[in-house]
Amino acid sequence: MASIPAPVPVPAGRSAGLAASTVGIARRGLLKFLRTPQLVVVGTIQSALFLLIFRYVFGGAIGAGGLDYVDFLVPGFITTGLLFAGMGAAAGVAEDLEQGFVDRLRSLPIPRSAVLAGRAMADTALLVWSLAITSAVGFAVGFRLHGGLADALAAFGLLLVFGFAFEWMFITLGLFAGTPQAAQGLALMVFPLTFVSSAYVPVESMPGWMQAFAEHQPVTVMVDAVRVLTQGPAAEALLGHGAGFYVTRALAWSAAILAVFVPLAVARYRRG
């Protein structure tokens, strides 16, 4: 134990700006992930297993028109993988609330929006990682690009925008849930979105009443955008529309999700 501290003089009235605080908080989120090897390893193994099961166990029974099933499946797998990876944010936010970390941040002289922005930034960076893993696993089981490289990169960018939008949904759930367990439960809400979609099976194979939902919901639109961007004309023929159709809809859905959940999260966070 040292003797009397020499206080470091800090000019009164100073505080970190929005950018600096956001980066600081985002860095913490990334370190938390990178230094918890279980998260990294378990996440990777889970997604690989999931793909292998669909590819080889169900794959034989599912017809995908003019596309190889693997080329049909992997865009769905990558898109839904984003949502499964993003689910963790809900429990993470609830845990930060419960364990007082958010209290500490909220007692600091930083813009309140920095806490949520930092969180969303870190989580979106993790989505890049998740996308890289799921794409690599996809290629390993036989997925191939049949369109241009520029289109494939556009798909990657579009997926990030989409994942970012859903991050805000999960952050909002985490803020409202109360406990990490409840947050985890609420995050399971994405299961209907991921399974009642074109991600794993063609929408036409579902009962009529379900098709109405499945066809228009954001996951289907996003998956189909990735299909057309990575598979080119064969996917267009199968799905019925060109890339522009799906991309604009995927962007519109992302914007709508952000328009709902960003204000909700911010309002909830401000209220405390």
């Binding site: 134990m1 600081g24 419960e98 958010v102 500490r104």
Partner: protein, 325 residues
């Protein structure tokens, strides 16, 4: 001079629970104020209100002259908070934790490194500074949390039960660290359930219960009114209890209390060790077999009894966490 904290008629309720029920309190600069109270008294609610984490429903609250509702930003520049549950990031090292908070206080990289190193040194954590906080013991975590609250060199430290759950040695180390800060001119608001902690650290104690102040004063004043030591005797035979009580009436300052179930007799005594010697003499003279005898400071329960004329109700909850809703 502007008070560090000035609360008038502060009210806060959660649903049907009234957590603060017209709390009045003033902390002057240069003071360590201890808020003492049992579980559920409203200590954490008060600290969170001062820290601008909760908005009061009614009443006034100013911190260093800034109203918590109208100028929360100004309040946040003045305070450093160590909440009831250590809020450090387990996946970062002690140094990284402090550095992050220092940067968020607006310090540049170099200043942040310097103040983190200084705080680590102050808390005796330099040796463990570069280990992940998840490898820390509970006491080390608590210290790191305290460090995070003071790395921004705040004028007012808010410490919510800083030593709850620590072993006696860590407790004293933390007291020393807090004492050093106070000597360097930091004002402190701390909450505690222990009279001896308040006595050791604070220049002024406010006792609260059910969200209201039930007594306030310097430790000396409160002890004069309530803080008499207690002699407690555990007899071998139940039959001897009445005679033990009679024997203790001499050295005691009030009526000895007999607790049949646990075969104990308790009596408040004057300061010093003389009463203990007298008590032993009296018990010996009466030929009473004693299992054990102790001289101790009064418990919070006994302080309440003395100050308010009524004991504590059973705590309505344990110190478990509530959602930070």
């Amino acid at each position: 001079m502007t008070p560090t904290i000035e609360a008038t008629g502060l009210r806060k309720r959660f649903g049907r629970t009234v957590a603060l029920d017209g709390l009045d309190l003033v902390a002057e600069p240069g003071q360590v104020l201890a808020v003492l109270g049992p579980n559920g008294a409203g200590k954490t609610t008060f600290v969170r209100t001062v820290a601008t984490l909760l908005r009061p429903d009614a009443g006034e609250l100013a911190v260093a002259g800034h109203d918590v509702r109208r100028e929360p930003g100004a309040v946040r520049r003045v305070i450093g908070l160590a909440g009831q549950y250590a809020a450090v990031e387990p996946a970062m090292t002690g140094r990284e934790n402090l550095h992050l908070v220092a940067r968020l206080f607006g310090q540049d990289g170099r200043t942040a490194r310097a103040s983190s190193a200084r705080v680590l040194d102050l808390l005796g954590l330099t040796g463990a500074a570069d280990r992940l906080a998840r490898t820390y013991s509970g006491g080390m975590r608590r210290k790191l949390d305290l460090g995070a609250s003071l790395v921004g060199a705040p004028r007012l430290l808010l410490l919510d039960e800083p030593t709850t759950g620590l072993d006696p040695r860590s407790r004293i180390e933390l007291w020393d660290a807090i004492g050093a800060l106070v000597a360097a001119g930091t004002d402190v608001l701390l909450t505690t359930q222990y009279l001896d902690e308040a006595d050791h650290l604070a220049s002024r104690i406010v006792i609260i219960d059910h969200g209201r102040v039930v007594a306030a004063g310097t430790p000396g004043e409160l002890k004069q009114r309530a803080g008499r030591n207690v002699i407690e005797v555990h007899t071998r035979d139940r039959a001897a209890l009445a005679r033990a009580a009679a024997g203790l009436a001499g050295p005691g300052q009030d009526q000895p209390q007999v607790e049949e179930a646990t075969r104990r007799v308790r009596v408040a005594v004057a300061a010093g060790t003389d009463p203990l010697r007298d008590a032993l003499g009296a018990l010996d003279a009466a030929g009473i077999a004693v299992e054990d005898i102790s001289l101790r400071p009064p418990t919070l329960d006994e302080v309440f009894l003395a100050l308010t004329g009524q004991g504590l109700e059973q705590p309505t909850e344990t110190a478990a966490g509530h959602p930070a809703a």
